[in-house]
Subunit: 245 residues, 2 copies
DNA sequence: CGCGAGCTTGATGCCGATCAATGCATGTGG
DNA sequence: CCACATGCATTGATCGGCATCAAGCTCGCG
């Protein structure tokens, strides 16, 4: 149902949080062993999502949260008039579905930008007043708080930065998050199209393209299609802070 | 009766949530009597904040959440380079400090736009695994989820709307929230300056002013200084959806 | 090989930023 | 009570960044 390979089971075997490579970056961050065990009991098995597939869509009934285990997602909000906007990009360790807790229905579409696997956290886990639920709730509160802070950063970016600053800030943030996952902080592959970047940053794909070219001509980075190499982090940071135009 | 008077006490007497006018709109929303009692035990007394004063500042240690009881607030995020941006306006029933849960330090400044009173919810309440904490956490998760959804709306607005649409959408939202509080949905007083509106909407105060004038000339509203009257809700809605330029 | 999705580059025009001046309301001190 | 200062709001003139429209270009894939 979820993948293009007909033989793929809807759920794969479970890897416990306690043994997960992402343990320090995901929900289990900073938990004691006992707390970790409580959490482990609430997280269901993994589920694959093929590139281009939706994990959920806006309006879907909310019955579980998801943590990205492998792969890359985008979330899209849709206005009543049909305008769409990318509201975030999620990589391993990030949570999906947090905006749905209030209304009981998902508020955005979550689409895999490459073949991915997510961990499933049933909504029921949150309801019962078990010790595990308490741990989970506390971690979720932190995760949501973090998301709010990040969104405020995006609002700042959208409200008061020029195209060059926006793209520079975006790339720095992306590189930093990838580095936290153990990847190189300077050489990376863009999982999303120019249009998706533009949607996230409030600019048109043509402008994204031109801005890439501009940053490249200034020697700050090297970009060829989806492959990106950051040559001058400090320069990019200055650029993001509005140094130049 | 606000902090500018030297004799004002730092805390006033407590009004229990169960007897609060805002009960249905604030943290106690949709709670059973038993749950309400649990919550009541966690909320401290009220605290006054005078117009222009900060309830907290970015970087302050986070030791309690606040619920607006009376008055009007704005929250401001500050970038490293000093740029400031209003990230939200809070009215009675809204919570303040949600962005601080993750880092343990406040991420924004919260400033009273008029003399105000807030209810204090000590952070400790969240930590202990008491039944009250469980109730509080569940309500907080919902409130944060709601904030995330609202922020996504603002991102959409900032990323893909023209000045006229932004202002129209903002005013409709403001009027709707005020109406939910029992005020008129069509006649209202703007608690914030043009500059603050502009900061929130990603435009300059001159543009806000011109846009007000434009909407007025189209007969959609009437504005004189801070006093605003919405004359044509449907027209404003069309305007917000990008009907006109 | 040829198609199509995605990316780049160019030409033009418009929206909103910017600079600058005036108007209006409130408050303060003489 | 008036004169003046101050903060906020409006209006005008000009300019620049980005959207828009319109071709080409690149690359992966059937």
């Amino acid at each position: 149902m979820s993948t293009q390979h007909p033989f793929a089971a809807p759920e794969l075997g479970k890897v416990p949080c306690s043994g997960c490579r992402l343990r320090a970056l995901c929900l289990p961050a900073n938990l004691s062993n006992w707390e970790l065990a409580q959490l482990d009991a609430l997280v269901n098995a993994q589920r694959p999502v093929a590139r281009g597939q939706s994990l959920f869509r806006a309006g879907d009934r909310f019955d579980s949260l998801y943590a990205v285990r492998t792969g890359f997602f985008k979330t899209c909000a849709t206005a009543e008039d049909g305008r769409e906007q990318v509201t975030g990009f999620q990589m391993p360790g990030d949570l999906l579905g947090l905006a749905a807790l209030d209304a009981g229905r998902h508020a955005v579409d979550a689409v895999a930008l490459e073949d991915a696997q997510v961990c499933v956290i049933p909504f029921d886990s949150l309801e019962a007043p078990s010790p595990g639920a308490h741990v989970l709730q506390r971690q979720l509160l932190k995760a949501m708080s973090r998301l709010i802070v990040r969104d405020h950063g995006v609002m700042l970016l959208l409200g008061s930065m020029r195209a060059g600053q926006r793209l520079a800030a975006f790339l720095l943030n992306l590189a930093q998050r990838l580095q936290a996952l153990g990847y190189s902080g300077s050489a990376l592959v863009l999982r999303m199209t120019r249009e998706e970047i533009g949607s996230y940053l409030g600019m048109k794909e043509e402008t994204v393209s031109r801005t890439f070219t501009g940053l490249q001509e200034q020697g700050l980075l090297e970009v060829r299609q989806r492959e990106l190499r950051i040559l001058d982090v400090a320069g990019l940071q200055r650029r993001a802070s509005g140094d130049v135009g």
